[in-house]
Symmetry: C2
Subunit: 125 residues, 2 copies
DNA sequence: CTATTATATAGATGAATGTCAATATTGATG
DNA sequence: CATCAATATTGACATTCATCTATATAATAG
């Protein structure tokens, strides 16, 4: 069962006026939440920042070198990011090169932009 | 111990050129990851969207009415969002009114903006 | 003061997560 | 073909998470 399912409004109390419906379908919420969740680990966040900062492609050994974590653990985090659609990879010879999927980053950014009063401008302080 | 600690570069392989250092301190990574993680649950994502869409303040009973979840579970999710700094609340009489913290949303948006090739424009497709 | 209402907190429990060691896979090299 | 090197996969384990029920707290109504 999907726990983020929208419920009908049953508003009889006096605490506040009628409130808008939820703006995401539960499928959208699940997909976006999975992407935020993938970003929601300091190791994975650092990995994504590293990939983006490199501006292109980075192989796994270079990622590994920056953490005090085992190779399988890094591989696991890369898989989670990949499954969420935040990064992609491409094999070239012996190596796998990883890179950020900018469309996914943009989709999450759009959600956050909606949370701000000046939504639409995309002005980040 | 902090698992996202930066390691010195030890680059002797031929897989790719030297790669930039991690761009976040592990403290920054931890704080930002905690915020992304708070957004990384479909119920909490829906709650935040609901608060923002209402444009102001919503009391807990109105949030509860939209989910098939118990009152303590909603309260628990609100606490997680509050602890992450994504939302705040204010008591007025009998009710607690919750609202999005736009500065936190902006900070996360800035991270995502960095992930995109045209970082700086803030153009979300 | 007592009862009610709105919300939070505490405690329990099954599911998911992060990590590692061990092993498998796959391309390169001798 | 045999070995090596880079990365993925598997399986185990402790920790964290999402949820519930039960209870506490605090403001309001009577």
């Amino acid at each position: 069962m999907n726990q983020s399912t929208i419920q009908p409004i049953n508003h009889s109390t006096a605490c506040c006026g009628p409130v808008a419906e939820l703006s995401l379908t539960s499928e959208e919420a699940d997909r976006l939440a999975a992407q935020f969740k993938a970003m929601g680990n300091p190791v994975r966040l650092q990995i994504v920042m590293l990939l983006s900062r490199y501006g292109g492609q980075v192989c796994v050994c270079d990622i590994e070198a920056r953490f005090t974590l085992s190779q399988p653990t890094i591989s696991h985090h890369l898989k989670i990011l990949r499954r969420a659609g935040l990064i992609e990879c491409e094999r070239r010879g012996q190596w796998y090169y990883y890179f950020v999927n900018p469309r996914a980053a943009a989709a999450l950014g759009a959600v956050l932009a909606q949370l701000q009063p000046d939504a639409g401008q995309g002005e980040y302080a």
